[in-house]
């Protein structure tokens, strides 16, 4: 029930090469050493095509520490999809038969708007204070702006306070820092699965914290009103199970709007989850990184920060970033909002390692301040483009008779391809994923998100029309059994991962 980190960064959507069934040991060193001496199971190498990991590990030992070797191995083995993509990236002119990436959750629809905004003269300020060591929580002017921004867009009942804001270089760092300061080595967070799989790694890499999955069902049963519905009963059960196995759970991670489900929680649901956490004295980390990417007007999104009277404000920590909502994953800006000063201070203490350039901090403040542009230009346009792309892909899927989930938020559709698996196994899921990749379209398979049912895929639609059309055509080909490229042995075995990133 606890999962090993999969090597997936926020960027690449990949199929996991790492086995995700083993238990993490509670002790840092021990766990890793055990990992090393263990022969990685054959299935792994067979499917992820990274060659024999054992050989890799043994050759590492001369230079790397054992944990260094394990870290590298995870990285190498799970980056396959992304690496393959990067060696053969689609380009309209230069590489029209290259791979289309519908796997990475990145908004590529609004670069024109963003580039022009970021090039305006107010962005170009350079002053000495921005070039020097900052306050590690982030520059005061930015924290003030973030507080105002979140107060407005999260509809908080009272103005949020800059003292409760910490700024750092992305939400991955934030997960890592929170895990480190909230948990001891080997302790755990609850997380409803499927979930954005990279979090496993975020909390594990430095923090050595593991995730306990609250598995959700695609089938609507009992009082459920929709597939994969999170209920307090499920949370209670997962917590009990963890406790009975001696796993100390310190918190709950919620993603809202949800990745990969595209789901959003109602205020009532949110409150129930928060009450559950309060009953068990659990911290709640709410990842709201898609909060402005709700493109369907009928979908009423509600931030945790909008709730009147949080059940346990000292244990409620909200995360946001510009990577998704402003389509700037390369900018590395993430922020924490927490009323708990100790947590804010402890996270800030780690910011020397997760800091953000002063110049970028200045630009972010300018951007977040420009409410006119955001409200009148960016958001309407972004939502319209997201909606158009979504409508197109949803229509394609409907035409193919493929069921999917989507509630009008996020950049992706959670697609049910179970009927395309000859057998309901993750092996078959992986084979289908491989067929997509061989047919030059990269998707993310359910296993990457710890989905317990094989056959679900996440399909990212926030890309330009021509790429999207081509990508969908390739998806159709695979599902209709008319792949252009025959299945052939994959050729990833010997390449050095780094060179493949180029």
């Amino acid at each position: 029930m606890s999962t090993l980190p999969q090597k997936e960064s926020r960027a690449p959507a990949t199929c996991p090469g790492s086995a995700s069934t083993q238990d993490l040991d509670s002790n840092y060193g021990d766990g890793l050493e055990r990992e090393c001496s263990r022969k990685p199971d054959r299935k792994v190498s067979e499917f992820c095509g990274v060659g024999d990991p054992t050989a890799m590990l043994s050759s590492d030992s001369s230079y790397l520490s054992s944990r260094g070797g394990v870290i590298k191995w995870f990285w190498d083995s799970a980056e396959e999809g992304y690496r393959t993509y990067h060696t053969d990236e689609y380009d309209e002119d230069k590489n029209p038969s290259g791979i289309i990436n519908l796997g990475t959750s990145e908004n590529k629809l609004c670069f024109d708007l963003l580039s022009s905004r970021l090039s305006q003269s107010d962005m170009l300020r350079v002053e000495p204070a921005l070039l020097q060591y900052p306050d590690w929580r982030g520059h005061r002017f930015l924290r003030e702006e973030v507080a105002r921004f979140l107060s407005f867009y999260c509809k908080s009942p009272t103005p949020l306070k800059p003292e409760n804001v910490v700024v750092l270089n992305g939400c991955a760092s934030l997960f890592s820092a929170l895990a480190t300061v909230l948990c001891e080595v080997g302790e755990a967070f609850l997380i409803p699965a499927p979930y954005y799989g990279a979090i496993t790694q975020h909390v594990y890499l430095y923090g050595n914290v593991r995730l306990v999955c609250v598995y959700l069902d695609s089938e609507v049963t009992g009082l459920d009103t929709r597939p994969f519905q999170l209920t307090v009963e499920r949370l209670e059960m997962a917590l009990q199970r963890a406790n009975s196995e001696g796993v100390k759970v310190k918190g709950l991670i919620l993603i809202n709007p949800h990745n990969p489900l595209g789901d959003i929680y109602s205020p009532g649901e949110l409150r129930n989850y928060l009450e559950f956490a309060k009953r068990h004295e659990l911290h709640v980390m709410v990842d709201e990184v898609y909060m402005l990417s709700v493109f369907e007007k009928s979908a009423a999104y509600c931030s945790v920060l909008s709730l009147e009277g949080l059940p346990d404000p000292q244990r409620t920590h909200v995360m946001w970033a510009t990577s998704k909502d402003f389509g700037m994953s390369g900018l590395r800006f993430g922020t924490l909002y927490t009323e708990n000063r100790d947590v804010a201070t402890a996270v800030a203490s780690l910011c020397r390692y997760h800091g953000l350039s002063g110049l970028v901090q200045y630009q972010m403040a300018q951007l977040l301040r420009d409410r006119d542009w955001i409200n009148q230009v960016y958001l309407p346009e972004n939502h319209a483009r997201l909606k158009a792309a979504h409508t197109y892909v949803a229509g394609e899927l409907q035409a193919l008779g493929i069921p999917f989930l989507s509630r009008g938020a996020g950049f992706f559709i959670w697609v049910d391809l179970r009927k395309f698996l000859p057998e309901a196994t993750f092996k078959e899921e992986m084979l289908l994923w491989r067929r997509f990749l061989d047919n030059k379209v990269l998707l993310s398979c359910g296993k990457t998100f710890e989905c317990k049912e094989p056959g679900w895929f996440r399909l990212v639609f926030s890309d330009k029309a021509h790429r999207l059309c081509l990508g969908m055509r390739r998806v159709r080909q695979v599902l209709g059994g008319k792949s252009q490229v025959a299945e052939e042995p994959h050729s990833c075995q010997t390449r050095e991962p780094r060179s493949q990133h180029r």
Partner: protein
């Protein structure tokens, strides 16, 4: 039980709570009494609860052991109280370091415990910051520890941040000669960075990129280092990793080269950030290779690092069961301001090779050599490195270009495995694409660097150095006169009576009271009290 470390930091919290921290020294005995009493009360409470809990759960043996620990601690506190009263307690924050029996780290991994014994006593002094808190029921033990040690380390910096000196707006603010930050050329940098070529916002800069940096920046860094490190053959961009600062590079290197509890050798005094960085995530111990500050006939250079000393430290560490994985060197040296000569470097590298040790070479001050008679040798300039696969070079723009706010650090290593393993951490230490572009432009502009920046920078360094050394001479303060870095290593031993680290610590608040921040030798793990580092890379006004 899980928050025993609270007690250690309680004094600070208390002082803050009562708003006493910033008062003159005469109130200290009172404060000390007060927080001692409270600490003792708290421990008695813990004793009682422990008795109760352990009667329920644990066997007798552990019960006695735990009780013993608490009793030892109490005894310790009481004896300190007595000695404090006897000594008249003019300041006495020396309370905190000696709680040997208490396992602060609780049940954290073995490496960490091993680490704790080797740790310096953190200067938990004078918490004046209203936001500083150490007592929390919400943080993990390591969270508390991180917060505390960080705050202690950066206390002065935060005081400074809150009350920065400014010619016009805050002429009474703090002058910071403690943080090694190059403020001499902010005018040049501001101007250069404001030029239009810096401002490019392309799609590719806004998207996810390779986590170890943008390929265009690797290439520029490789070219830059090839040129300025005088490398015989062109460096390979594939060997470059870019992260958000040298602390991140060092921390990740420690992570992938050492397992928890393993160790790196380093000769103090050295940059105190290494202590924090090696301990923070990676739980790696730094083994101190102590040097002699006295110059003798046999040893004409104070603090001279020799292979004998390295051998000895390695042997001692090995005998105590430590697994030493590498050697950390800073060149030009921080805080000594010295550079290693080529032969010495070769010897150190040969030594490391003999024992299969990695060498982490921090060359972050490589362009800050202002004495023209001094030749700096990057190890990348060597015709052949003794053990290239175990040699890793760190550089960044924070010091040489005075842009610490940029958050940019570089690793150059021939070892592909190490580069790749460090890159795995990239997404936790990423640099904004826009910044990577600006850095690329900056490093590319050789004409400006060689024609404008470096000559001005060095002459300003020279002038500032001349100014400060003249002042020091006039005051009769001994110092090491070297030609690189942003700081002078000065000896204030004569002002300590007795010559102890407690007294050294007590000197700091006296500087602070006069709105001046220096950093004391203890933070550099210097073995003898009385040394201070004073940074001179600031504008001369006032």
């Amino acid at each position: 039980m899980s928050h025993q470390s609270d007690t250690i930091h309680l004094p600070c919290g208390q002082m803050r709570g009562q708003g006493l921290g910033s008062q003159g020294t005469h109130t200290r005995p009172l404060e000390m009494m007060l927080h001692l009493r409270q600490t003792i009360e708290k421990h008695i409470m813990q004793l009682v609860t422990r008795h109760q809990q352990q009667d329920l759960v644990l066997g007798d043996q552990r019960h006695h052991q735990a009780t013993g620990e608490q009793e030892a601690l109490l005894g310790n506190l009481v004896s300190q109280l007595v000695s404090l009263l006897r000594s008249g307690a003019t300041g006495g924050l020396g309370l905190q370091p000696s709680y040997p029996a208490l396992d602060v780290r609780g049940d954290v991994g073995g490496g960490q415990e091993a680490q704790s014994s080797g740790q310096p006593d953190q200067p938990v002094h004078q918490l004046k910051d209203p936001e500083a808190t150490f007592v929390s029921q919400h943080l993990s033990n390591r969270g508390i520890e991180i917060s505390a040690s960080y705050q202690a380390n950066l206390q002065d910096f935060r005081i400074y941040q809150a009350d920065k000196y400014h010619e016009d707006t805050n002429p009474l603010g703090f002058i910071n000669l403690g943080i090694s930050e190059n403020k001499l050329c902010l005018d040049l940098m501001t101007e250069r960075l404001s030029q239009s070529d810096m401002n490019v916002t392309e799609d590719v800069l806004l998207q996810y990129s390779d986590w170890s940096g943008q390929p265009f920046l690797w290439e520029e860094v490789a070219r830059f280092l090839t040129y300025y490190c005088k490398v015989p053959a062109q460096l390979d961009p594939e060997n470059v990793v870019v992260l958000n600062g040298c602390s991140s590079i060092f921390s990740t290197l420690a992570m992938v080269l050492c397992d928890p509890g393993e160790a790196l050798l380093s000769p103090p005094p050295f940059y105190g950030g290494f202590v924090f960085s090696s301990q923070l995530y990676s739980k790696v111990e730094l083994i101190l290779v102590h040097l002699d500050s006295e110059s003798t006939d046999a040893n004409p250079h104070p603090f001279k690092l020799t292979v004998d000393k390295l051998e000895q430290a390695l042997l001692e560490a090995t005998l105590t069961g430590k697994k030493v994985r590498g050697l950390v060197l800073i060149n030009p040296q921080n805080p000594l301001g010295d550079v290693y000569c080529r032969d010495s470097l070769k010897e150190y590298l040969e030594f490391a090779k003999r024992y299969n040790l990695h060498v982490i070479m921090d060359e972050i001050y490589m362009l800050s050599v202002f004495d023209e008679s001094i030749m700096f040798h990057s190890i990348l300039s060597m015709e052949s490195l003794p053990d290239p696969n175990r040699t890793h070079v760190i550089w960044g723009t924070s010091k040489d270009f005075g842009i610490s706010g940029f958050r940019f650090g570089v690793l150059y290593t021939h070892n592909k495995e190490v580069a790749s393993a460090v890159s795995s951490f990239g997404y936790l230490h990423g640099v904004s694409g826009i910044i990577q572009y600006k850095l690329c432009r900056l490093l590319q502009d050789r004409e400006w660097i060689d024609g404008v920046y470096l000559p001005t920078y060095r002459s300003r360094l020279q002038r500032a150095h001349r100014y400060i050394t003249r002042k020091l001479k006039a005051l009769g303060i001994p110092f090491l006169n070297h030609g690189s870095g942003l700081y002078v290593w000065i000896n204030l031993k004569v002002y300590l009576d007795p010559c102890t680290f407690e007294e050294e610590l007590l000197l700091c608040p006296r500087f602070l009271d006069n709105k001046l921040i220096l950093s004391r030798g203890k933070t550099y793990m210097c073995k003898e009290p009385g040394w201070f580092r004073t940074v001179f890379a600031d504008r001369p006004s006032g």
